[in-house]
Symmetry: C2
Subunit: 199 residues, 2 copies
């Protein structure tokens, strides 16, 4: 029999189902909630419950958004000649934080993965093509993850878009900022050598 | 203007107020919630909302509990001759996990801290004394944290309980398991030397 009161144990259990939260963090969070104000706790619970009800998929880029079209697709300031293709909605905030990209996005909602039975038709790949037909888009950045499946998906899309006269690019591969050659993995270091840049 | 949809931004904000959760973790959690089942999300929200309503302080040990007296105080299997005094309710689960302690607890709900204006009367120290009066309790383990305030609080309580014929002990100080002498701080290493044990 556990000696922790059931409501605390239940919250610890619920927290520990979240990614990256182990039993110790979950316990710390639960006891933190215990001593926080009611307003704070209600705000977190409310945000959780409201999340899905108030979100839609943007019918152009398929990002999760509070309106359709989303704030990026409907922003006249964004560069409509470049579309950045990402695997999932959570890949967009890090891209935005760099301030290095001012184009539009297209969210695939996954990668081609024969092992998991996910083919191109299970993703939003077909939906990308009409966006490229009017000739406004000049470049598609295939920003899928640098994994086997991500690369394969990018390659597949490249074969579809290049015949349409759209340039396909991918994010540079190389050593991450602040890393140490000594600890770099072979593949990353190999790519960094092969893609070495003049400066 | 942020390009993240407001309901997601709101949940990220709520998550990032929790201890040990930075903006990146908060974002990861929010996007995880976005793709989890409604049942899972509701379970977390419910657990949060139910937490405080369904908890009371045990009137004997002052642990947070779902009933009064708590499951530890009302367990006939527990050793009623030893009381372990801890700073806060969240100190009890780690003690229990060791399986090395089978006595009762007493939760102070803080430490004496002149800087923060917290005196002995702001804690559950006075409430400890009646528990020691009938002579059943032989030992009080002062398991406050090994900090200046924790030690001072332990010392204060020791002065109250020893005249009552109750033995006061504290948790051993020394090197943590798995640590490396090279990286031990001076105080810990000094205490480990002074408390060296024959074996």
């Amino acid at each position: 029999m556990s000696t922790t009161a059931e409501p605390i144990a239940r919250l610890i259990e619920a927290f520990s189902r979240l990614p990256g939260i182990g039993p110790k963090s979950a316990q710390r969070l639960a006891y933190y909630v215990l001593q926080s104000s009611d307003v704070e706790v209600e705000e977190l619970a409310e945000s959780l419950l409201c999340l899905k009800n108030s979100l839609v998929l943007c019918s152009r880029c398929f990002n999760v958004a509070d309106k359709d079209p989303c704030s990026i697709c409907s922003d006249p300031q964004r560069d409509k000649t470049v579309v950045c293709v990402v695997e999932k909605p959570s890949d967009i905030p890090p891209m935005e934080r760099t301030s290095q990209f001012n184009g539009l996005y297209h969210v695939l909602h996954g990668v081609v993965s024969p092992n998991k039975g996910i083919g191109p038709d299970d993703l939003k790949i077909r939906e990308l093509l009409p966006r490229l037909r009017d000739g406004e888009v000049k470049e598609v950045i295939l920003a899928t993850n640098p994994t086997v499946e991500g690369e394969a998906t990018a390659m597949y899309i490249r074969q579809l878009v290049t015949p349409m006269g759209v340039k396909a690019t991918k994010l540079a591969r190389g050593l991450p900022y602040g890393s140490d050659l000594e600890y770099a993995d072979d593949i990353t270091l190999g790519q960094a050598i092969n893609s070495r840049q003049g400066f």
